[in-house]
């Protein structure tokens, strides 16, 4: 069974801090994703990566960056945290198959509060 592990379930940080969210998957998936989930807005894609050291911007990349130095690990970085980045952050991974017919597997999320 695929396991996607996010390092923290709950995190509280201060405005202006640099924040790191870590995600690890154990199924050798090529693709990894970071979303944020806000009530009424569903999931919005921040960044994704289809290979080590590769990254693509999603729909809302502003204020975020990512790092993928190893295949199993995908980090989301808030360069200078702001209160409007308070949210639930979800990491996901998937195999590369056809044109996206592989489901994404999600971690349990990190609920981040910026004070």
């Amino acid at each position: 069974d695929v396991k996607v592990t996010q390092s923290s379930r709950y995190l509280v940080k201060r405005t202006g801090e640099k924040v790191f969210l870590e995600c690890v998957q154990d199924m050798d998936h090529e693709n990894m994703f970071w979303y944020r989930q806000d009530p009424g807005l569903g999931l919005r894609l921040i960044y994704f990566s289809y290979d080590v050291k590769m990254k693509e911007k999603g729909d809302i990349p502003e204020g975020y960056s990512v790092s993928r130095e190893k295949k199993e690990r995908f980090s989301l970085i808030l360069e200078s945290a702001s209160t409007n980045q308070t949210s639930m952050y979800l990491c996901a991974s998937s195999l590369t198959g056809g044109q996206g017919n592989q489901p994404q597997h999600f971690g349990d999320g990190t609920r981040l509060s910026i004070l």
Partner: protein, 112 residues
């Protein structure tokens, strides 16, 4: 622009009754379609997907979904709801390589 609509924020149904959670989409081409479920304080879990073929797709926990190309809809159904089905349900479409678009979610409440 690509979009996925779940027109109902909440669906209430009595245990044992059939349930439907609606999803319509507006994307280019022939997308792949998915349903996910999210329980409180958990990530999303994959329920089922439509790739091609039969318009009725069966998935986990007794759920199924009906694809209607002319109406660009992909409604989630279950013949007999359980209280344990209460959760947040997301429809998602994948029109191109690995990029998913999610609906805003529908909260399903199943009452005993």
């Amino acid at each position: 622009a690509q979009s996925v609509a779940q027109p109902e924020d909440q669906v209430n149904v009595a245990e044992g009754n059939p349930l439907t959670v609606k999803c319509t989409y507006s994307v280019s081409g022939n997308p792949y379609l998915f349903w996910y479920v999210q329980y409180p304080n958990r990530g999303l879990q994959f329920l089922l997907k439509y790739i091609t073929g039969d318009n009725l797709v069966k998935g986990s926990y007794g759920f199924e979904a009906e694809f209607n190309k002319s109406q660009t809809s992909f409604h989630l159904k279950k013949p007999s709801a359980l209280v344990s089905d209460s959760a947040l349900y997301f429809c998602a479409v994948c029109p191109d390589f690995n990029k998913f678009y999610f609906g805003s979610g529908t909260k399903l409440n199943v009452k005993p």
